[in-house]
Amino acid sequence: MLSREEVIHIARLARLDLSPEEIERYREQLSAVLDYFARLAEVDTTGIPPTASVLPPRSVLRRDEPRPGLPRDELLANAADTEDGQFKVPPVLDEPHGG
């Protein structure tokens, strides 16, 4: 069973604000799912390599040539706040949760 503190820690790593009710609900639901997943430990995987890709390994190369990207104004058009052709954000320093 996950503890309340563990859920809070995971949510912090994932940058998610959770209400106290959400913390309790996710504690129960994630614990049930993780209990079910414990059966994976039954499988003997000695000497079995992890899957890196389902497709045959190969090199994917292209010429290193500059190509036009998407226009800046179109990309900025979806942002909540911009200034002088750039994304604008509130102050970045001192993360309150210390993460």
């Binding site: 859920v7 995971i10 949510a11 790593l13 994932a14 940058r15 998610l16 604000d17 959770l18 959400e22 996710y26 639901q29 994630l30 049930a32 799912v33 993780l34 079910y36 997943f37 059966r39 994976l40 430990a41 499988v43 995987t45 079995i48 390599p49 992890p50 899957t51 890196a52 890709s53 389902v54 497709l55 994917v60 292209r62 998407l70 226009p71 179109e74 990309l75 058009a77 979806n78 942002a79 909540a80 706040d81 994304f87 954000v89 509130p90 102050p91 970045v92 320093l93 001192d94 993360e95 309150p96 949760h97 993460g99």
Partner: protein, 500 residues
Amino acid sequence: MKPMPWTPFASLTETLRALQTGEVSSEEVTRAYLDRMARLEPRIHAFLAVYPAQALAAAQAADRRRQMARHHPDEEVPPLLGLPIAVKDVLAVRGMELTCGSRILEGFVPPYTATAVQRLLDAGVVIVGKTNTDEFAMGSSTENSAYGPTHNPWDLDRVPGGSSGGSAAAVAARLVPAALGTDTGGSVRQPASFTGVSGLKPTYGRVSRYGLVAYGSSLDTVGVLAPSVADIVPLFTLMAGADPRDATSMDVPVPDITLPGPEAVRGLRIGLPKEYFLAEGMQPEVAQAVQDAVQHLEALGAQVVEVSLPHTAYALPVYYIIAPSEASANLARYDGIRYGPREAADRMWDVFYRTRGRRFGPEVKRRIMLGTYALSAGYYDAYYAQAQKVRTLLKRDFEAAFEQVDVLAAPVAPTTAFRLGEKTEDPLAMYLEDIFTLPANLAGVPGLAFPVGFDAQGLPIGMQLMGPHFREDLLFRVAHAYQQTTDWHTRVPPLAHLEG
């Protein structure tokens, strides 16, 4: 005999033929589907956005182009000119809002178009709208859409499956002749099964993922839903092929798929994986209908062999570790800075916490947390690394099976469509709906779902065929043989016949 006049119940293949002969115009076809939508969509909610004016303008342009070509025989006519389709709202179409069923992308208008969609646009299709989906394609019922669930046209109190539930319901109710979906763990095949239509999940790497909003990047595929498998073929072959914008797309020649008669399955070896019939909670009618369908193929001359995919039971934990792990990284980009609405705060960190905490829905948060946990220090080896090793074993199961047989036949899901709200409070019960579809994604092999009967409540039952990498042609051959000699795929929900 005089040919039947065109109706929205015509197959995609018939519609293309009618457009080519000039028997009907794209404007008439598009208008007919938009009319059906106007009547039926309020009860089904298959769409997140419909673009009637744009679609009609595109249809008229297609008609003009076809008219021009009549006078200039050298002019090439694109193969799908004037055919209306719908696109699942996780694929970018320049200028059309792309929300992925999430509040975190509310109002986002992509400045680019997904390669798979662009190839169909180049082939002449008319896009009528964007279909509903579980938020970021995470779900098996379309109930996780932030904009409300889609209803199954066969029974409006039931789910259409998910996550491509909007596309499946739209095709089932004949609101469009075909729709694009995506399949990361069964999201094309399971809704196809729940709504009585056909659905293809191609081989991983067969269709470019450029412009598909990433969920589980090692599993995501772009597929097609349509009434019959013959209807899927032209869209699939035009979408497939390598794309410089997706390094995982493979440069394997796209076969010219011809659909021979039912005799083409003679001698073909069909494997029945026994593990797919033993699942807990399996509805007996589903197993029976699939066995009957396999017997039907046997009567057409196929050889049926029982095979074993011994690690099948582990596909669920493997998938629900790997997909959320990939999702936790892929969805880190949604922070309210570059796109999507922003929840106001004095410090940037609080913008992140608030925007993500308030605008992601419950299932997305659940999977992000699950993935974050599986990748976090101290748990990585037990969860993520072990899951990737068992994934290798699952992949080897398929390789061994395809030494013995040409294709595998199995149920798509253990049950038919369940009731809205039935599983929303129990994530594990919802995940169990995916047990038969997850293995194909984990192994990267193609899967093709199609209807093979109905249960006692009149709900469609689906079967899936799975084949070796890049052998979609085999799946089409077998499924087409079945559909030429049965009529399940022509059944339409009673709702779809309602006029006025």
